[in-house]
C-alpha cells in the first residue's frame, strides 16, 4: 500500500493515463488511486481491469474514492 497515485481534480483522461503509467511501471503488485469523481472511479477501474488488474477495493475518501488495484 506504499504507492499512491493522486488523480484528484484531474479531468479526463488524466486519471487513466496516470493509472496506466503506474501499471506499466510496477508490472505486478498493489497500489492505490485517489479520484474525486464517479466518472474517474469507473474509468480507472475499467482501465485497470482491461490490463488484468483486480479492483480489490473501492472506499469513499473525503469528496472522492480510494481505489486499490492489485495484480499477482
Amino acid at each position: 500500500m506504499s504507492t499512491t497515485v493522486d488523480a484528484r481534480g484531474l479531468s479526463c483522461p488524466q486519471p487513466v493515463i496516470l493509472t496506466m503509467e503506474k501499471i506499466k511501471e510496477l508490472g505486478t503488485g498493489e497500489f492505490t488511486v485517489l479520484v474525486d469523481t464517479d466518472t474517474s472511479k469507473e474509468n480507472v477501474s475499467r482501465a485497470a481491469a482491461s490490463k488484468g488488474w483486480e479492483v480489490k477495493d473501492i472506499q469513499p475518501d473525503g469528496e472522492g474514492y480510494r481505489i486499490t488495484l492489485k495484480k499477482g
Binding site: 479526463c12 483522461p13 496516470l18 464517479d38 469507473e42 474509468n43 482491461s50 473501492i58
Partner: protein, 364 residues
C-alpha cells in the same frame, strides 16, 4: 461490488444510451428540427448565440431547448445519484479559448461530432470527411496527452458556483417561455428568432425540452462522449465509449430509413457543403480543441450540469465563438466556406498547437 452500481456505465449501458439518442435525434428532425440536425450541440449553441443577438446571421437564431435540457437533465441525474460536485479552476481562460476555436472549426464543417454522426446516418457522405478530420484532430490531441499535456487540477468550489451554468440555462428557458417567437417577426422584446432557414425549423418547445432533459440525464449517467470514444480507442485501445457512438450511428441509420429521412450522396445535403478539404480540416480543428479540453461539446454540457465550472467556461467559449464565427465570416454555409474561414482554421490550429506544446505539468 460498487463497480456495477451504475448500469449505464456498463458496455450495454453505453450502447443503449447511444441507441436512445439514435432514435430521438432523427425523431426531433421529423418533428421539425433541421435536416440531419435532430441534435447538433455546436449548431444549437450557435442558434442560442443568434437568439441572444451575439451574431446577426438571420437564418440561425433560436433559443434551442435541447441545450437547456442537456444541462438541466444532467443536473437532475447528478443530484439524484449524489454526483453533483462543484469544481473549477483548471485553466478556465484556456478552456474558453479552446471553446471558441472548437466552435469555429465545427462551423467550418457545419456540425459538432454528434451531427457528423447524424449526417452520416442520414446518408450525407460529406460527413465521412468530417469524421476523418475529427479522428485526425483527436489523434493529434493524444500526442500532446502522451507528451504530458495537462491543464492542471480543479479545486472544489461552492455549491452555488456549480449551479451557475444550470442557472443560466434555466434563465434561457424562462426567456424562451415568456418571450415566444412572434409569427413573421425576426425579434420579440428580447430574443431574435429566425423566420427562415435552419433557425426557423424546430420541434415544439416542450418536445425539444423533454427529449433534451432525457438525453442529459442518460448521458450524465453513462458519460457518453463522442470525442472520448475516439480518444480512448487511439490512446488506450479501449472500445467502451466507442460502442456508444456505434450504437448511435446504427440506430439513427435505421430510424432515418423508417422515417424516410435517408438520402445517400454528397450533393444537395441539408445544411452541408461539399468542400472536402475544409470539412476535414474544420472538424480536425474542432477535434483537437475537444481533445485538449477533455470532452466533446455534448459532454461539456453534461459536465457543466454536474457542477464542473471549467466545462461551463468551455460552453460559454463555444457560444461566444459562434458569435465571432458569424460576425467575421468564418462560418461556412451550404454554398461553401466563409470568406475568412481558411484564416480562422489556420489561426485555430496555431493556437491549439501552442496550448498543447506549452501547457505541460507534472500531475503526480
Amino acid at each position: 461490488m460498487k463497480k456495477f452500481a451504475n448500469v449505464f456505465a456498463t458496455a450495454w449501458g453505453i450502447v443503449a444510451v447511444g441507441a436512445v439518442i439514435g432514435v430521438l435525434a432523427p425523431l426531433l428532425q421529423k418533428l421539425g428540427n433541421p435536416g440531419n440536425m435532430g441534435i447538433c450541440v455546436a449548431c444549437f449553441e450557435r442558434d442560442i448565440a443568434g437568439s441572444l443577438g451575439l451574431h446577426r446571421a438571420e437564418v440561425v437564431q433560436y433559443m434551442r431547448p435541447e441545450i437547456i435540457g442537456f444541462v438541466l437533465g444532467s443536473l437532475v441525474a447528478a443530484l439524484l445519484f449524489k454526483e453533483f460536485r462543484p469544481r473549477a479552476g483548471s485553466a478556465p481562460i484556456v478552456r474558453f479559448v479552446l471553446g471558441v476555436f472548437a466552435m469555429i472549426g465545427a462551423l467550418v464543417f457545419l456540425g459538432c461530432p454528434w451531427r457528423a454522426l447524424l449526417r452520416l446516418s442520414g446518408g450525407d457522405l460529406n460527413a465521412i470527411l468530417g469524421i476523418l478530420g475529427l479522428a485526425f484532430g483527436i489523434w493529434v490531441g493524444t500526442l500532446f496527452l502522451k507528451a504530458g499535456y495537462n491543464l492542471g487540477r480543479t479545486e472544489k468550489a461552492h455549491s452555488a458556483a456549480g449551479l451557475v451554468m444550470p442557472a443560466i440555462m434555466a434563465g434561457f428557458l424562462v426567456l424562451a417561455i415568456l418571450y415566444p417567437p412572434i409569427a413573421g417577426e425576426p425579434k420579440n422584446d428580447i430574443l431574435f428568432t429566425s423566420i427562415k432557414g435552419p433557425g426557423s425549423m424546430h420541434a415544439p418547445l416542450i418536445v425539444s425540452l423533454v427529449i433534451g432533459l432525457a438525453i442529459g440525464f442518460l448521458a450524465q449517467r453513462s458519460r457518453f462522449c463522442t470525442m472520448g470514444a475516439i480518444r480512448d480507442l487511439v490512446l488506450f485501445g479501449q472500445t467502451h465509449l466507442f460502442m456508444g457512438i456505434l450504437g448511435l450511428v446504427v440506430v439513427a441509420f435505421v430510424t432515418n430509413l423508417v422515417l424516410g429521412q435517408f438520402k445517400l450522396g454528397f450533393e444537395g445535403q441539408p445544411v452541408a457543403h461539399t468542400m472536402h478539404v475544409w470539412n476535414f480540416l474544420g472538424m480536425a480543428l474542432a477535434g483537437l480543441a475537444f481533445a485538449l479540453a477533455g470532452g466533446c461539446p455534448g459532454r461539456q454540457l453534461f459536465l457543466a450540469g454536474e457542477g464542473d465550472g471549467d466545462a461551463a467556461v468551455f460552453v460559454i467559449g463555444m457560444i461566444v465563438g459562434a458569435g465571432i464565427a458569424h460576425n467575421f465570416g468564418l462560418a461556412s454555409s451550404p454554398q461553401g466556406i466563409g470568406p475568412h474561414g481558411v484564416a480562422a482554421v489556420v489561426v485555430g490550429f496555431a493556437v491549439c498547437l501552442v496550448i498543447g506544446l506549452t501547457m505541460r505539468k507534472s500531475a503526480a
